[in-house]
């Protein structure tokens, strides 16, 4: 056991004073000298045979002290934290230290700890949220989307070109009689969209027909074109017209999509899924609403180190997303001339709120003794294994190897706390159509 003393300072800061016995100090010095003697080369001495006094003179007494101090603190600090049951959320700063060989070593480490929250109310709030109505129309909408995804585009003979048709054509573009080979294309393939600037004049063309027309290049997007402000002559020969055909809505279609016996079974499944999603979304909004009220009602200081690490988390996530688009935060800061600290500060408000939410949720879990049992964990793993198409044992091994167990347990606990809050607060649902969700919500 170490001799420790804890002193609470202002703003979630704590000073931990630790005393290390002289024998341990001497052992640390001896270990340092022995390692230094083996690694340092001094002319006139064999490695490992350098006397202590020569070593100290070579390395410098201050540097020896600094290194031994660091080693001792690194060794003793975690032990002291464990014994005092503190939860640091920041790195420590060494404020006092009196290291000397042969003497007990006393040091004072100052760091931030998780704030101890007082009494706060987290029950009996009311949250009024919108919940999507799932009806025949919602099911039909999804079926329509699925049909579109399974549509087949096939050539249509003797068709005349209409909006939304796919077509292939030979296009010849000329300016003042000179054909531009870059703009011309023998096997062009396009979809004719509404108000298509280049191909609108082709509406109504039949396969094999040739049509000539003129287009003036004058839009803002074309400002950099060499033909800006000029008129181009188009000659289009239509080679083929294709149209998507939707699959027929019958039992066969349902069977193609999976393990459905009939169209009715498919519709039932879609309805169930939609109901589940609507319930989850509404509960999520309710949960957010309750959290908002708890945060509003109970204010406390959040340790700066936790805010900073939440900002780090936000920025890392943002950077990962930006990298997918081929840019980075560094590039953005360089190009915009913004200071990195200024950029970080823009996340402060969100980070404080997120940290506060996390601390409150955790405190509720502690007060209600909400824990994740091994059975809960096993059940979750079995569920996930089924989803990922893996064996339970394989998933368990993967999670243990990648330290993922803690993450799974954390998310399970958060889920349980969420369920607890939903159960112990009043949730009122306003049933609305999908299109009206979020309309009329005052402070979502």
């Amino acid at each position: 056991m170490l001799k420790t003393q804890v002193q609470e300072l202002e703003a979630n800061r704590v000073a931990l004073t630790v005393e290390v016995e002289a024998t341990k100090v001497n052992a640390a010095y001896a270990s340092f000298y022995s390692r230094a003697a083996r690694s340092i080369k001094i002319p006139g001495f064999r490695q490992g045979k350098i006397p202590k006094a020569v070593l100290v003179k070579h390395i410098g007494p201050d540097s020896v002290k600094e290194q031994v101090e660091e080693e001792l603190v690194q060794e003793v600090y975690p032990q002291a934290i464990k014994e005092t049951k503190l939860h640091p959320v920041s790195r420590f700063e060494l404020e006092e230290s009196n290291l000397a060989e042969g003497q007990p070593f006393v040091f004072k480490a100052v760091f931030e700890v998780r704030p101890r929250l007082g009494e706060f109310n987290y029950k009996s709030y009311t949250s009024q949220v919108q919940r999507e109505i799932v009806d025949e129309e919602s099911v039909s909408k999804v079926i329509g989307q699925v049909r579109e995804q399974h549509s087949k585009t096939e050539p249509v003979e003797n068709a005349s070109l209409e909006v939304d048709d796919y077509f292939s054509a030979t296009i010849e573009v000329a300016h003042e009689g000179a054909v531009d080979s870059e703009l011309s294309d023998e096997k062009a393939a396009h979809k004719l969209v509404e108000n298509d600037k280049l191909f609108s004049p082709c509406v109504g063309m039949k396969v094999g027909e040739i049509r000539t027309y003129q287009i003036k290049i004058d839009s803002d997007e074309e400002k950099n074109s060499k033909y800006y402000g000029k008129t181009l002559d188009y000659k289009v020969t239509l080679n083929r017209v294709s149209r998507p055909t939707l699959p027929e809505l019958n039992d066969e279609f349902a069977k193609q999509l999976g393990d459905f016996e009939s169209l009715e079974a498919l519709k039932t499944k879609i309805r169930e899924d939609l109901e589940e999603r609507a319930k989850y979304d509404a509960e999520e909004r309710a949960f957010e609403g309750i959290l908002d009220q708890i945060i509003e009602s109970y204010s406390f200081d959040v340790p700066e180190a936790m805010v900073q690490s939440t900002i780090d988390f936000f920025i890392q996530g943002l950077d990962r997303r930006w990298r997918q688009f081929g840019t980075t935060i560094q590039d953005y800061l360089r190009n915009s001339g913004k200071d990195v600290n200024e950029f970080r500060e823009t996340f402060r408000e969100r980070a404080v709120r997120q940290t506060r939410t996390m601390l409150l949720i955790d405190a509720i879990g502690e007060r209600e003794n909400i824990e994740v049992t091994d059975a809960d964990y096993r059940e979750e793993i079995e569920k996930r294994a089924k989803e990922y198409n893996m064996t339970v044992e394989k998933l368990l091994t993967t999670l243990t190897e990648s330290d993922g167990e803690e993450n799974v347990r954390f998310s399970l606990r958060s889920q349980k706390i969420r369920d607890f809050l939903l159960k112990n607060n009043q949730i009122n649902y306003d049933m609305v159509k999908d299109a009206d969700i979020n309309k009329g919500e005052s402070d979502a």
């Binding site: 002319p43 006139g44 001495f45 064999r46 045979k49 006397p51 006094a53 020569v54 100290v56 003179k57």
Partner: protein, 96 residues
């Protein structure tokens, strides 16, 4: 006549010399032309101590080879100086 700084070139700190520093015996690299009494005087002037005995020896050259080039190290003179009991040289303090 040579100045003391030109006679005593550098102290020698090695495993062997270190072992005897506690007995007041120190080793120096000295000018090849210096004799024992010059070394004694130089040490006494430079370090403000009394010298009881000076032993000297010429360190022989050693053959060295770097690739195809053959050569030798320089020869030099070593002085082993015994001080009066109780005297010590501050330069070595903290080491011996």
């Amino acid at each position: 006549m040579k100045a003391p700084q030109d006679i005593v070139i550098q102290p020698i700190v090695s495993e062997k010399s270190y072992d005897r520093m506690g007995e007041g015996i120190y080793q120096f690299k000295v000018a090849k032309s210096a004799n024992k009494s010059q070394i004694k005087d130089a040490i006494e002037v430079l370090f403000k101590v009394t010298v009881n005995k000076v032993n000297t020896l010429n360190v022989v050259r050693k053959p060295k080879r770097r690739g195809v080039f053959h050569g030798y190290t320089s020869t030099w003179k070593k002085a082993i100086v015994t001080l009066k009991e109780g005297d010590s040289i501050p330069f070595f303090e903290g080491i011996a």
